[in-house]
Amino acid sequence: MQLNTKHFGVIEIDEKEILYFPAGIPGFENVKKFTLLGRQENDVPFFWLQGVDDPDLAFVVTDPFAINDNYYVDADDDEIKIIEAKDPERILTLAIVTVPNDITKMSVNLKAPILINMDNNKGMQVIMKNETFPVKYYIMEKGNP
């Protein structure tokens, strides 16, 4: 199918690559379908979670485990019931990246990761209850030119 994207114009994607977010993403509850773009590019730690229903909606995402060695996702099975996860190995975990005008203040949301069940392509954003990981985890060194 053809997909209108925020950054890559109109592209062709396989419908198998569509991810379903039954509850949307907080703040964007009406957008239920997304797809990942740019994930196959080597050496680039960032890629895109593009809204399928809304071409203007695209998040920069990254692998939180690559950002922080001590990272883990703390969520009850019941909290993630919506994606029908059975096998933790089959869950793809992503973190949304916020890029402000001052790029040195770029941060990654480690508190509320995106979880995608690769067996059924269902996804959600889970908000961890503990305070271990921050909403803004800065990934650039402060004051770096």
Binding site: V60, E79, T98, P100, I103, T104, Y137, E141, P145
Partner: protein, 97 residues
């Protein structure tokens, strides 16, 4: 909005399976006990709003694929986090884009 008065130890039901009870009242602070099905997510409103605000900010960013390609990060980089920071590489190209 429905407003109910409750005393310590009393509770309210929302539907059949959500119960909110008043555990303790101390001055301006009220401790609530919430019993709800596990799939119902319960968060302090400010946490939920913080996530919404962060998502909106992330979605509004003016960042192009070319720009993102030039950003290099290192594991556990970043000051302002609780962990000790390490250097991270970033090209000067970022701002030009």
């Amino acid at each position: 909005m429905l407003v109910l008065s409750r005393k310590k130890g009393q509770s309210i039901m929302i539907g059949n399976d959500i119960e909110i009870s008043i555990v303790e009242i101390q001055g301006e602070q009220v401790r609530l006990g919430i019993s709800a099905p596990r799939e119902v997510s319960v968060h302090r409103k400010e946490v939920y709003e913080e996530i919404i605000a962060e998502n909106r900010k992330a979605a509004a960013a003016h960042v192009s694929p070319d720009m993102i390609k030039q950003i290099k990060i290192r594991k556990d980089a970043g000051s302002g986090n609780t962990e000790s920071s390490q250097n991270c590489e970033k090209t000067n190209e970022d701002k030009k884009n």
